[in-house]
Amino acid sequence: MSILGGGIFKGMAVTLRNFIGSYFYKERLTTNDYEWRAKDKLPQSIGDYPKEEGEQLRDTTTVNHYSRNFPMLLHDTGEPMDTIRCVACQICERECPPQCIYIEKSTEKKENADGKPQFYPAKFDIDVSVCMSCQICVEVCPFDAIVMNSQFELSTPNRFGGLLVRRDDLLKSNDYYHKIHPQEAAARDQKMVADKAAKEAKKKAAAEKAKAAAEARAAAAAEAEAKEDTE
């Protein structure tokens, strides 16, 4: 037996505590006063924002490890276009609910980080004004090439071209990913290594199987030959 309407009063006590507490305890405030710089000139394109990791994470209190805002493309250590993970398979383009991804596949193959010849995106554009940060592209990517960035300074006075982010601006190193989302990046790397190992083991097994099969076939053929010879 609870008191009729007691839940409402309990809830109201909680909100009252928040209301009063937010005036006295600064640590309660989840948002920070954003530095307003009227004289500052905004970049004409999102790509013009500083690319260096430290710059984007100036405000460490508002961006935590779980924040996500907008996708970025990953590359491994080295020259970005030489180590890009994306192979322009266009799965993310098809899966994107608001269809904000635009990919053009390259015509010829190029060696990727593993030294394997692969296609690469000749064009990879994402429209910030359309993206809804759903992270579905991240989920569907079989190559772990696209992940969420937590950069939030994306405003620009140029509303036509300025909100379209090009491939080169989307490319970020895996180290940067480790810096902004350490746990997630570590888990992803682990998974990739495991996947690779599993793949190799499978390949090895397949090769062994093929070898065994070939041997058996050879043995059978030799036997048959021997039989033929005896006849």
Binding site: I8, N18, F19, S22, T30
Partner: protein, 452 residues
Amino acid sequence: MSFELIKDILLATVPLLVIFPSLFAFTTWMERKALARIQNRIGPNKTGIPCTRIGLFGLGQPAADGIKMIFKEDIVPRGADKLFHLLAPILALIPAMLILCFLPLEFPWGKFISGKVQAFMLDSAVIFFFAISGLATLAIFMAGWASRNKYSLLGGMRAVAQMVSYEIPLLLSAVVVVMMVGSLNAKEIADAQTGFNWFVFTPWGLAAFVIFFIAALAETNRSPFDLPEAESEIIAGYFTEYSGFKFALFFLGEYIAMFAISGLAVTLFLGAGDGPFLTSAPWLSVVWFIAKIFGLIAVMIWLRGTLPRLRVDQLMAFAWKFLLPLSIFNILLAGLTHFALDARVAATSDAILYSIHAPHTHSGEANHEHPKPVAGQKEAVMGALHYTDKNWMGAMKWFSKAALKGHAQSRSILGWGFGIWAMSLIVLYVMAKGLDNVSRSTAKPREYLYAE
């Protein structure tokens, strides 16, 4: 049309047109601030004096919003009914402004107005209030229908169903007060509560006030009853296709309706303009009135920050299975207790008067049976008798005054009265609890296959 008449009309209406819209601006700021603080945010704090860095706690926000609204593009959907799309926000604002006139606000310049113009102090002000506030439903339906949008129409239908359902408990809870005072005149209702004899202090008045307040929340589409404009379900309900100044008008109408219905709650249950220091400064009555309205608005904002939205079936079940029976039962209880007190007082009133008069009129053996009359005792009893048919609290206060002065009959009535007071509170609570158990929806939400 003489000059006098025009002057009177302006004096009577312009203050309402100035005070309430400016209160609206302040309320939007207050609401945003309070909601922000409830969610541990700061709220508007930058918009102050233009071209400077002075924030003024964001008090310039309503003005900035207003300027923005006026200059925004007014978009009318191609398939919309153009005329109705334009008329709906106007029709939403007019009844809201009109019902403000029925509130018994006593402005200090009221004495400059000749009696003729106080036409809104009608004998049936309360009925008029409900009649005209019901027109807001039509405006909302009009907006929903004229927009030619699924979400708008859904919102409009929800609004109509909700407002029609909640109008009934709203009216029935007001009936209690009307029954007690014996008048539909707002001024008389206010007068019956002077001297802190507010109806909210009586058990049935308390229950009626709670019912009225809940129904008023639903009537003005405030959270947790904001289904007609539920953002997460139907975008913005009937607002969906409105932008710019039309949207601002809707917004204004909604807030004015909130003020008006809180004003009626203040009139009916919270003693209208009654408050301290009225004898030395009668103009304070307006201040108290508006302060009380603001108190109720603050509770509305607080509730908005606290409660989640109801489901449609819960909304309807709550109105028809909980509030409606409870308010009918409340009327019954109010009548019973009221007549019980009346009967009790009537049965003893002769004795009361006799006991006071006796020492003066009858000398001899009566003298030693009755205590000597105390100064002011008779006035106290007369005051109580004056109040018995109008206001329970008033009567009780006078009786307690007489009892303190050593009047035995008053003491017995007082004890009896407060016994009934406690009893009816208990009965009301048990009734509400029982209704709650009965009316709780047993429907469980569907189990989703992919839910975690």
